[in-house]
């Protein structure tokens, strides 16, 4: 359905053709808002984790959120039960997995970055296996619904999903940006960060918690939209440098922009493509380009 700018403007002000009003207010607008919220959450979450783990390959899903949420989603969609609880279930699955990963990453004296990453990878593999098993066992139509969720899609997202998740994401967006100075200090390494008065344990829990709330919020709205959280912080760093006081807010803005554009592209064709496919198809080449452009510092920030 094509609307002229005039019709769109009228509908936006709740005037003119009531059909157009429905299209703008109940179909288009919530979807754009959803894309912006999901994109900004993923962008900021990725920037926070890349900074905290000092690893350029970190994404919001590295610590196992995707595995936990994915498992719940596949169970719910694949088995066709309790489907209205999907967003909440995915959210809980993701958060529970991260809590478990943090628990596994404890050392005698703190939380180790290497253990966080390895714990996340190990749990992802385990949950991934169970997830594949469930997919194989589920009936055809339901397996497809689960797959589309795993790829990530904004199709049919409306206000009711947003009002539940948006407040926690918006609060986390603000909280995340306030952690910028903390991340600047952490980027100098653990020893110097301690010397400058930060508590490694506290900042790792704080940053991890905010990044988790953001990613879980995004996942519960749109499923596992990949690459936004990985690529956007890299692009932002190329543009604004290493200071997290700039990197964090611009990663959120960049994420919102990229996902809105990707969702627009996803709807252009005759049949709609899940937005996760668009971000992956756009994102992979960009990522490879970044990787080979900076051969000297692969994984560096």
């Amino acid at each position: 359905m094509q609307l002229s700018w005039r019709e769109f403007g009228l509908a936006l002000m709740k005037e003119g053709d009531p059909r157009y009003q429905v299209i703008v207010w109940d179909l288009r607008l919530p979807r754009v808002v959803a894309a912006m919220i999901v994109g900004s959450a993923l962008g900021l979450s990725g920037a926070l984790l890349q900074g905290m783990l000092r690893n350029g390959l970190a994404s919001p899903f590295l610590l196992g959120i995707s595995a936990g949420s994915g498992l719940v989603a596949v169970a719910v969609l694949g088995l066709g039960i309790w489907q209205i609880w999907l967003p909440l279930g995915a959210w809980l699955g993701g958060v529970a997995t991260i809590v478990l990963v943090y628990f596994l990453a404890r050392t005698g004296t703190g939380i180790s970055v290497e253990r966080l990453i390895l714990g996340g990878v190990a749990l992802s593999t385990l949950f991934g296996a169970v997830q594949s098993m469930l997919l194989l066992l589920s009936p055809d139509g339901q397996a497809q619904a689960a797959l589309s969720w795993l790829i990530g899609s904004l199709n049919g997202r409306g206000w009711q999903e947003l009002v539940v998740v948006a407040p926690s994401v918006l609060v986390s967006l603000v909280a995340g940006c306030l952690l910028a100075r903390q991340l600047n200090v952490l980027s100098l390494g653990d020893d110097l960060a301690v010397g400058l008065g930060s508590s490694l344990m506290r900042s790792r829990i704080l940053i991890g918690a905010v990044a988790t709330l953001l990613a879980a919020g995004a996942v519960s709205i749109a499923g596992l939209v990949g690459f936004v959280g990985l690529i956007v912080p890299h692009g932002v760093r190329l543009l604004v440098g290493t200071d997290y006081r700039l990197v964090l807010p611009f990663s959120a803005l960049g994420g919102a922009f990229v996902l809105s554009v990707a969702d627009l592209l996803a709807r252009l064709g005759p049949t709609e493509v899940p937005v996760g496919i668009v971000t992956a198809v756009m994102g992979s080449p960009v990522f490879l380009w970044l990787l080979y452009r900076r051969k000297s510092s692969v994984g560096g920030l």
Binding site: V194, L196, G197, T242, L301
Partner: protein, 258 residues
Amino acid sequence: MPLQAQQLSGGYADKRIVEAVNLTREKGEWLSLVGANGSGKSTLLRLLSRILPPQAGTVLLDSKSIHALAPTEVAKQLAIIPQQQVLPPGLTVHQLVSLGRTPHQPWWQWDLDSQSKERIALAMEWTDITQYRDRSVAELSGGEKQRAFLALALAQDPQVLLLDEPTTFLDVHFQLELLELLKRLNQQQNLSIITVLHDINLASRYSDRIACLRQGQLWTVGAVDTVLTPETMREVFAIEAAILTTPVGLQICPLSAY
């Protein structure tokens, strides 16, 4: 304001490397920790700087345990320069030095206040890196890089500066340059320095006191001329050495290894 180690023990996991060390730093002095590889001198420095939590005993700053004090309160008085430095590419000298103000800035303060700006300018002036202000730290030479990290520590405005083998990656010119600079700061700004030094001759040349570690224990600590004896060399470094009087004070001439 003394920094004091009381029955300090610690190490990694179940392995205790430093055992029951008692040590007091006098105000404004330069204390060097020396010892053979694996003697626990770096571990002791990491314990003193609270990078490692102690397994027993405590470190007192102003007669309060540094583990009970708020981390930022300790950081206002105690600065550290680790041996291995992590550098985000693109970080400029000024950005690096500015981070030294972190403990003095409340968490909600987004930018530097005027007092911080003055201190940063001063720290960069002392270390003679003002002309590199907007250069990327990663592109500097080894000696300049160490001076940039020293400026970061000085921006913290500490009473005590802890350094872990600051001269390791420097050739002899930059070793002397850095240690001379530290000596000037030590004397003119009354900055106490505790440093691990590999090179016993550099330690004897610049320190007020030397602490010798052997197998995690404090073998002896005292003024340079009381510590630097053939017997200490034998017990601490397992070498036969002659002690020479030179224009720069007592120096070691190693004769043979056991």
